[in-house]
Symmetry: C2
Subunit: 137 residues, 2 copies
């Protein structure tokens, strides 16, 4: 089948299929006389694997490792699990950082009246104004 159908079947754009080929994530596709790339069910399977890994947030290099592990009948499941757990930790860290941002920002937003007046704790917070209402000095 042509690249467009492969893209439709796998959810990986034709653009990205070509890209993955260019970086060696997938082998060079067979070519028809027309020079059009030609894909079979084996390629579709591989592309589906890649898309699912990508949807789980794995990087291209991690996906490269996963593909190698997929094709290695010798490897232990511990090897795969280790890679997965590294990625879970990465996800946790990203979630933590975004959550910190959200917490800080929502505290500022809660303190902001959000009315027609210009006074705004959000802007003050960003400007680095200390606004302890200590009546200090």
């Amino acid at each position: 089948m042509q690249i467009g159908e492969a893209a439709r079947l796998t959810g990986v754009s034709a653009k990205m299929i070509r890209h993955y080929e260019s970086i060696g994530l997938i082998p060079s596709a067979d070519r028809r006389d027309s020079n059009y790339r030609d894909y079979g069910h084996h390629d579709i399977h591989r592309l589906g694997f890649i898309r699912r890994a990508r949807d789980l947030g794995f990087s291209i290099e991690q996906i490269r490792d996963l593909l190698r592990l997929w094709g290695d009948t010798q490897r232990s499941s511990a090897d795969v699990k280790a890679l997965a757990q590294t990625h879970i930790s990465d996800l946790d860290e990203k979630i933590r950082l975004l959550g910190e941002m959200r917490t800080t920002l929502s505290h500022l937003a809660e303190a902001c009246d959000g009315d027609h007046r210009p006074d705004c704790p959000i802007i003050k917070g960003l400007a680095g104004d200390e606004q302890h209402d200590h009546g200090h000095h």
Copy 2:
């Protein structure tokens, strides 16, 4: 002061200070006879604002808007709050997506023994294997 000290004081790298100038996020810095950029406390304040906004995950274009709102004494706090809440929603969506990835991946990882044997539900999940143990067919 020179760009290096401005970088040290604000936590924005010299590289990024020049970049922010080139995209018009900050005005062109004054120059000394040596052609070195020269920064004062006003610049430092602005860069600090930018760094704090960046630390909260605002995009450059959002920071551009925030800086405009900062300098606009006419604007209502509602304008600022609206921008902040848009960003909070963006953060929530990112957190949600990462959380979904984490959940899916951790379910696969839990099902994986992680021992010396090659059988691995993580790889099977990525490969798109349906593994209902229904004895179906």
